[in-house]
Symmetry: C2
Subunit: 392 residues, 2 copies
Amino acid sequence: MTQSTGSGESLEESPTITGVGMTVFTKKDERPLLELLATAADRALDDADVSPTSLDSLHVGNAAAEAFNRRSGLANALTSELGITNVTARRIENTSASGASAFLDAFDAIRSGRSRVALVVGGEKMSSADTATSTEIISRITHDAEYEQGVTLPSFAGLAADRYFRLYDADREDLAHVAVKNHDNASQNPYAHFDKQVTVEEILESPVVADPLRLYDCCPTGDGAAAVLLTTKNNGVEVAACESAVGTHAVADRPDPLEIESVREAGNSAYASADVTPADIDVACIHDAFSILEWLEVEELGLAERGKAWQLTVDGTTDRDGSLPINPGGGLKARGHPLGGTGISQIVELVWQLRGDAPENRAVSDINCGLAVNVAGFGNNSVCTVLKGEEA
Amino acid sequence: MTQSTGSGESLEESPTITGVGMTVFTKKDERPLLELLATAADRALDDADVSPTSLDSLHVGNAAAEAFNRRSGLANALTSELGITNVTARRIENTSASGASAFLDAFDAIRSGRSRVALVVGGEKMSSADTATSTEIISRITHDAEYEQGVTLPSFAGLAADRYFRLYDADREDLAHVAVKNHDNASQNPYAHFDKQVTVEEILESPVVADPLRLYDCCPTGDGAAAVLLTTKNNGVEVAACESAVGTHAVADRPDPLEIESVREAGNSAYASADVTPADIDVACIHDAFSILEWLEVEELGLAERGKAWQLTVDGTTDRDGSLPINPGGGLKARGHPLGGTGISQIVELVWQLRGDAPENRAVSDINCGLAVNVAGFGNNSVCTVLKGEEA
């Protein structure tokens, strides 16, 4: 095992995470985007006990600051906020997976020998944008042909849920348990967008968004930021793998609209790189932008057989005290989904859990291996990360 | 020397460029942004004789598609245009250095072992945006405090030119020779935005933008895309180094407004990584968004002493047939500046020159080592690349 000694020499061992931090995800944070990012950054640096001047590189995950905030050059402005020069800095955009893509970028910067101390900051401030702008930016994530026909992300999710119910033994009430669970987890997470529990009845009675999906099946977008510090040290949470894959862009071109090829491919690559199997995963943060996606992704990741993920929700396997807790921080559904912040918040949650730092009422016990999946668009690009605790 | 064998194993030798291509840079290209990117990509793939399905990764450099084109998820949409899945794809943003930052990203992806065949595509379609939007996005590249006081990029450049004239022996007419040279080079480049030569008199008589700078001292923004294919093969142009650095964001905080720390630091890092000195550079593509920047950057890069770069312009050293040709493709000044496309177009030009593929009337002879510098904002983040020809 050798440590990197600077530019050009590459790393023989896995990068580790030695610091994490985030802001409270919320509908509207009065602070400017740059301050949100700097706040999360400061928290991760404090957690790692690292000075900003020690950084070699800064990787900012953000989906649409130019459109949402009329702000450009976010990475450079953040270096100024942090008071640093002479680093490599850039922003990474991959729609709703911008956060994890920035993390992957930092992971590669460490492995290539460019960086020994890399800060990844993901965040979004969506409350600044008018509804027309944010709706258009989010809708344009889909394939042009589908966008032009008016198919939106919620409608894809509604069609998927309807098909799932037709093919498998799950029903509308079973699906509500995903949101019940994730809201319950978020109610124990002081950084979550939603702090209240919801009942099956409330979910079923909430307004229809894209039948059979109700409002409470859909995640809230909003404002927030999260950050992690990646280094070459041995004393943190190990990043055993970070892999990504692109899948078919147009949903209509997929062999089955319930399949998310990019999640499957990224997951399989990550398992192979980390030398683990799905059975080794103790806890997972899944991209549940819509409740039905939690099931589809759990199946693509091999954590349940196809058509069986719903059972893990209904029988409590994916609860905090179950054998495979899913989204212990509340998921996108209830922790919230400030686009560029989401992928990093998943990693923050896993690190807290793997280090045993999650508050007692949210802590998942006996875990060594965590998985996060962050998804762009309706599954056209996914990033899958496998983390291992210090004892793993 | 070993070849990469896949994820996790890193590369012992420098990545090489085996294909390049671009669209004609112009004020307004009727094709959508995605088609511009796909066209440049196809040309680079054809030049390399590589099928899109051979790609491991796609790196898109673009500054502001959400704001300029109301388009999000550009990297994923481009994979769809190219008909590929199962690659790693993301967009890199670093304002006017988005192109070179995407190139650096691909360089690291190769060196980290993630990718063996990486396509970098940079482009922008600015003609779609209304003037208020494009002006605001470009203006917001500066530090918040300076933006709020109304200081724009042209005004920074004007102040720098004025100071240069006061400190050194150059004058307004000497500076005009930068634009004369770069227009002359562009007039021989079928991909350039401007195809006509200009005279010193025309420049001096053109409208004042930010005194002492005239309209013909400022580059045109517009539409265009460029692409390069990076691989691990031995038979291309070697990427001897790609380094970047952040400098002071607020110009007011710099010890001297004529200093561009980020260019100096990125340049020094690149020389060290490539094991060359400024004396080894045979040809350079410099980020001449304003004519005065060509001098300032040439000096920061050690290609001339401080206060002496103007002499190299006036005495013909930087002409195509001089001993150190600068911007043989026309530079930003005359090839044009579609933000995300610029950094890649510099590399395309160097590859053409190093391979001897530039048309006879634009070819620079007896060269083995080329340098490109792409700058974000008014110098707050720079990327410097050193390329070596096959015979180097």
